[in-house]
């Protein structure tokens, strides 16, 4: 019990994921700045941002909204993201072998933060937040199917087991999933799904600063917004780690493997950053078309290739 609490709160849970996610957020902002000929923030900036919101800034509650849900949503978002992070990282760090079906649990846990953002936005009673929430719902509907198909494809490729450890074992012996043509075809939609899950351009229409003033999060301030930021930091670590587990032979935490693990995560974040800096924001129906038509098509082609054994 105490051990589980330690896993959840300290390592590899809340504290570790928050700090590592903050670093990845800095990395993302620094690369963005380099692409845009700017200097970029100092290393500690994400932590300053978080602590300022947490400790200094006033928390303002919307006058005519459902306050309970409004306050609960960020907490649950952090909770969902953290549990997903723990479940993904534990088998890879060798602390725990996971349980049968943990992939399915992880899949659902990864959906929780987005759902909480929607609930928080709707309960704030702001029309701009309502627009943001409706966009986020449409976005979830479009990418979630693709994401499920991608995960199922990886399961299909590595021996029909819905357990993280088995997935990692098969990659250990049979080579990484991304090493094959069908693996690459699955990897491309996976990256875009993660981009959408993180709400990065071109899929940031739920926040869309210049259209609806950060949409979903418009009413959040102070501690609540700090928690939302924290959940985003954690997701920025969790999702690339999940991708590494699915496609790139997982992460290993011993010897020279530490370097490879860090490089895998940084590589995925770099890819996300580059996508977000070379595209304008899509409209919501364009995003739906993108996932439903093109990305699902890629996945289906990958399935055929898997059946052929390529």
């Amino acid at each position: 019990m105490l051990k589980d609490l330690f896993y959840f709160l300290v390592y590899p849970g809340l504290l570790f994921a928050g700090v590592a996610g903050g670093f990845l957020s800095w990395f993302d902002r620094k690369i963005t700045a380099m692409v845009q000929f700017r200097k970029g923030p100092p290393l500690l900036q994400p932590y300053y941002d978080f602590l300022k919101l947490l400790l200094v800034k006033e928390t303002i509650l919307p006058a005519n909204g459902s306050r309970g849900m409004f306050l609960l949503a960020p907490v649950l978002a952090v909770f969902g993201a953290t549990v997903a992070c723990v479940l993904i990282l534990l088998p890879m760090l060798g602390f725990h072998t996971g349980f049968s079906g943990d992939l399915i649990v992880i899949f659902y846990l990864l959906a929780i933060p987005s759902l909480m953002y929607i609930l928080g936005a709707v309960s704030s009673g702001n029309p701009l937040a309502a627009v943001g929430a409706s966009r986020e719902i449409k976005l979830i509907l479009s990418y979630e199917l693709t994401f499920l198909l991608v995960v199922a494809g990886v399961i299909l490729k590595s021996g029909m087991s819905i357990r993280m450890t088995d997935l990692l074992m098969t990659q250990e012996t049979g080579g990484a999933v991304i090493g094959s043509v069908s693996g690459i075809l699955l990897f491309i939609p996976a990256v875009f799904c993660i981009q959408a899950k993180l709400g990065l351009i071109p899929f940031d229409m739920a926040e869309a600063e210049t259209e609806i003033n950060h949409g979903c999060f418009i009413e959040y301030s102070g501690i609540c917004y700090a928690l939302i930021k924290l959940s985003k930091y954690i997701l920025l670590l969790t999702l690339p780690a999940f991708l590494a587990a699915l496609f790139m032979n997982g992460l290993h935490w011993d010897g020279i493997h530490i370097l490879w693990s860090v490089l895998k995560i940084l590589g995925v974040v770099l890819l996300l950053t580059l996508i977000r800096n070379t595209n304008p924001r899509l409209k919501i129906h364009q995003a739906m078309k993108f996932f439903f038509l093109y990305m699902n098509l890629l996945v289906i082609i990958a399935y055929i290739l898997i059946a052929l054994g390529i």
């Binding site: 071109p202 940031d204 210049t210 409209k283």
Partner: protein
């Protein structure tokens, strides 16, 4: 009407960092109606101009707008020279055109950057503004200021561009051309930009005529107007250039017109520099001692469209009536056509596509009782209020 939500864009909104208010009446994501309010920042420039001398008015009208700060003095100078009946030396004409075109380049670059930002494409934003920087440095080299250049006066220009500076300007232009090509390529060939801007906020030829829109907004819809060609002033009839017109009328067409206009501007500047080299150095103005009684109109093609100044003089030291019409004031009216029926995402970029400039557009707002129609505050009431406030502040000290 129960489903209709008001999505406010303004008075303070990340879309446009100037005080204005657009109310988008939306059903779901679709904009059903649009209303706008200006008057947050009315400065009474026309009235102020009547209390200033002709030389001071140049500095005043320059401050109407920070981005197209030379187009207003340009139009005012044209109006004054019509009244005084003077013909300025060729060297002054070339210098005026160079300043005007450099301003067009920096204004269009600013718009391209902002349009990118509004689409969430911050890389274009930063790159366009980086390329704008050498243009502002060039301004500083020529006029001493990065903005608000104070170059114009009745009968000529205040500062010469010395012969020694001309190679520097040429060098800056040569350095700018490849960057401009890069930017044009980046915007014209990006499929995602196409997806976001093509067929969005379409204004037909007919709409432009009905709303009397001007500038790149009109030229993107196939309306072939440009004051520089239709009513030549400064050196525009002494150089070879063409008006960029395209027919689609959507946001992409407006971007296309602005990007290609920058290429034309570079060509105009280079030809003006050629002309400048042939004229004797220092011949930059004719002395105008006094302005006779009369009235005159001045037009100039600002980056956003036609600027119109109407000036009445009585033979004294300053204008007795000064009327200004800035291009954004007419262009903003087209939102009624371009935004209704679009989604919020499309409406916001359509709002930005005419490059609206609110400091030109501000008109005085009067608070009226909705039932009786009477003015809530007269000028005297406001004066009384302000005196009361001053008294309060004094008491506190």
């Amino acid at each position: 009407m129960s489903n209709t939500k008001i999505i406010p864009v303004g008075p303070y909104h990340p879309l446009q960092e100037e005080p204005e208010l657009f109310k988008l009446y939306c059903e779901g994501e679709i904009v059903k109606d649009i209303k706008w309010e200006t008057g947050y920042n009315h400065r009474g420039i026309e009235k102020l101009a009547e209390s200033k001398t002709f030389d001071q008015v140049f500095f005043l009208v320059e401050r109407i707008c920070g981005i197209c700060s030379t187009s207003h003095p340009f139009a005012f100078a044209n109006a004054m020279e019509e009244i005084a009946g003077v013909d300025i030396p060729n060297r002054a004409k070339y210098i005026r055109s160079i300043i005007g075109e450099l301003e067009r380049i920096h204004s269009h670059l600013l718009w391209v950057g902002l349009a990118g930002h509004f689409l969430g494409y911050n890389t274009v934003f930063m790159w366009a503004w980086k390329y704008r920087e050498p243009i502002l440095d060039l301004f500083e080299m020529i006029t001493g200021n990065r903005n608000s250049y104070a170059m114009f006066k009745v009968g000529g220009v205040r500062r010469d561009i010395p012969m020694a500076l001309i190679p520097e300007v040429r060098k800056a232009m040569d350095g700018f051309k490849p960057k401009l090509d890069l930017l044009i390529g980046a915007v014209m060939d990006d499929p995602v930009i196409h997806a976001r801007t093509k067929g969005v906020g379409v204004l037909t030829h007919q709409d432009i005529i009905q709303f009397a829109a001007v500038g790149p907004t009109a030229r993107a819809s196939g309306v072939d107007i440009d004051v520089r060609r239709d009513d030549p002033y400064a050196a525009y009839d002494m150089v070879d250039w063409k008006v960029i017109v395209t027919g689609e009328g959507d946001v992409f067409a407006k971007a296309y017109v602005r990007l290609l206009e920058m290429v034309e501007s570079v060509s105009i500047i280079e030809q003006c520099l050629d002309g400048l080299e042939k004229e004797p150095e220092g011949d930059t103005e004719v002395k105008v001692k006094n302005i006779p009684e009369g009235m005159g109109t001045g037009r100039a093609e600002a980056p956003r469209g036609e600027v119109f100044h109407f000036v009445v003089t009585d033979g004294g030291y300053g204008p007795v009536r000064h009327k200004i019409r800035a291009p954004s004031y007419v262009n903003i009216a087209t939102f009624k056509k371009s935004c209704i029926g679009q989604t919020i995402s499309d409406a916001t970029i359509s709002l930005a596509a005419v490059d609206p400039c609110y400091c030109c557009t501000e008109r005085m707002a009067v608070a009226v009782d909705q039932r009786t129609g009477n003015m809530l505050y007269s000028g005297e009431d406001l004066l009384k209020l302000s005196h009361m406030k001053t008294e309060e502040i004094r008491k506190k000290q």
